[in-house]
């Protein structure tokens, strides 16, 4: 018996510290060339309303992009966009410019930031703790500018849902009353189990555990969920199980049988805008 314990203990010592969250949450360079030159004409913004700023999350600098007037923050609706797993927010420049012009030009102030290690934000994203800290630093800045709960909309795309979920479930300095989940993930466990075919917990490979079903069941306010059934990056059925756990004050889902993870491109701007505006103005 002692021999077996010693063998097991020896193997424990041999285990590596490699955690796959370090691979999953690994950003890349960002150029931050936020101009109209790369935008479709309908998405053009007043370039005087494009602002870059920084906050600090623990010891790291978080790069923020804001489209709008600073004065809007204390009186108007602000959409905080949590981007997907790309090297930097460069990839979502056209998306937030488009959101800024939903309905009419510069109807909403829109903010987006790079998580640690993405773009020019320093440091390394590791798990829910670092994501929450980054979010908190941005939210703190918005609160200082006068943003209040009834004028905040959080819009999470793909892996941005991993930040939005815990925030919506009570982890937001400014409580979230309207949440948009576009092609969200589901849980770290289901990703593990769908990949291996076994009932393995995600802790076999990572300390990063997330479960959007639990988050949504603890989120009391309004939720819009948008998803394509052909999504291979955030599987539809898994996301459905997570999002439909929501029991808050309002739930709306927009499901598209022939759309994939690039939802806006697949369904077109007209439909995308329609669903978003209906929810925002509801």
């Amino acid at each position: 018996m002692m021999k077996k314990i010693l063998i097991l203990a020896s193997l424990s010592l041999l285990t590596s510290c490699l955690d796959i969250s370090a691979v999953m949450l690994y950003g890349g360079p960002g150029e931050y060339n936020f101009t109209n030159a790369s935008l479709d004409a309908i998405d053009h913004v007043d370039e005087s309303k494009i602002h870059r700023l920084q906050t600090f999350s623990d010891q790291d600098t978080i790069e923020i992009l804001y489209i709008g007037d600073y004065s809007q923050i204390e009186s108007d609706t602000i959409i905080l966009f949590l981007h997907g797993n790309v090297p930097s927010m460069d990839s979502y420049w056209s998306t937030i410019a488009h959101i800024a012009n939903l309905g009419e030009q510069h109807r909403y102030g829109v903010m987006m930031y790079d998580y640690r290690g993405y773009g020019k934000s320093t440091g390394t994203s590791t798990d829910e703790t670092s994501l929450a800290s980054d979010y908190e630093s941005v939210m703190s800045w918005l609160k200082d500018q006068g943003l209040e709960s009834d004028r905040l909309i959080v819009f999470a795309n793909s892996i941005g849902s991993l930040t939005a979920g815990p925030a919506a479930a009570g982890g937001s300095l400014i409580p979230i009353e309207k949440l948009i989940m576009e092609v969200p993930q589901s849980s770290s466990a289901i990703i593990m189990q769908s990949s291996t075919g076994l009932s393995l917990p995600s802790s076999m490979l990572t300390i990063f555990e997330f479960d959007l079903a639990v988050d949504m069941s603890n989120y009391p306010a309004e939720l819009l969920w948008m998803h394509g059934e052909l999504d291979a990056t955030a599987p539809f059925n898994d996301a459905a199980s997570a999002m439909r756990s929501h029991e808050g004050s309002y739930f709306e889902e927009a499901i598209y049988p022939s759309a994939g993870h690039g939802l806006r491109w697949d369904i077109g701007n007209e439909e995308w805008d329609r669903v978003l505006l209906n929810f925002i103005l509801k």
Binding site: L39, A41, I42, L198, L200, G262, W265
Partner: protein
């Protein structure tokens, strides 16, 4: 302009997906069936075998490198004990061990294949939080032994007694695999090659990655091994 930007964005997304694939590929390092069938034809009594294995289940255009080591010993002429460890899992922080017994049921002759039956278990222990899973397994092998050449076809299944712990009721009790292989066992050396179909009863899914499957079900790949006999 919109179309042009859409294309730029799409290409960007594809590029990003390639970066991310490493994550999803690492996730699948804990596939059921990480190695060739440990022992197909039981060893002679007293013979000890130690070996290394390389599982190569296919993902995207490549194959995973699932490296393992094992030990086997002939307890009698009809019964062999084996035990192994997966080094790739160890690298990722999981202690993955397996062990079991292979029993000869029918001795092979020129006309009739030998048949062996195996039973054992696979354990996973997380070095992060001590989470533990145990998956019993059983299998049957038919093999033809012609001099140093051993040909086999094998069917095996892992049993998941904790299937109910899977999220969203997605657990399955059985995770079967089927293989066909060749072994060259001569004096102190044994070389192994086996092609396996993994979990062909369910859809396997790795986000941002493609698993070559059989009619949309399971995975597949080549498994290799080399061993020394004492």
């Amino acid at each position: 302009m919109f179309e042009v930007y859409s294309m730029i964005d799409f290409v960007n997304e594809l590029f990003t997906m390639k970066l991310r694939i490493l994550f999803w590929v690492l996730i699948s390092a804990l596939f059921a069936s990480c190695a060739p069938t440990r022992v197909v034809a039981p060893l002679e009594k007293g013979v000890t075998q130690i070996g290394v294995t390389l599982g190569r289940p296919r993902v995207n255009d490549g194959s995973l490198p699932l490296v393992g080591i094992y030990f086997a010993k002939g307890l009698s002429d009809v019964k062999t004990f084996y035990a192994g460890a997966q080094l790739t899992s160890l690298y990722l922080g999981t202690i993955q061990l397996d062990g079991g017994v292979v029993k000869k049921i029918i001795a092979p002759n020129i006309m009739i294949p030998g048949v062996s039956w195996s039973y054992g278990a696979n354990s996973f222990i997380s070095s992060r939080d001590g989470a533990f899973r145990l998956y019993p397994e059983t299998g049957v092998n038919a093999y033809w032994k012609i001099g140093p050449h051993i040909l086999n076809i094998s069917a095996n299944t892992w049993v998941d007694p904790t299937w109910f712990l899977s999220d969203y009721n997605k657990g399955r009790i059985l995770s079967p695999s089927f293989g066909a292989g060749y072994r060259f066992r001569y004096k102190w050396i044994e070389l192994q090659a086996e092609y396996k179909l993994l979990n062909p009863t369910r859809e396997m899914h790795i986000p941002q990655a493609y698993i070559p499957s059989t009619n949309g079900l399971g995975g597949k790949g080549w498994y290799w091994g080399a061993a020394l006999n004492f």
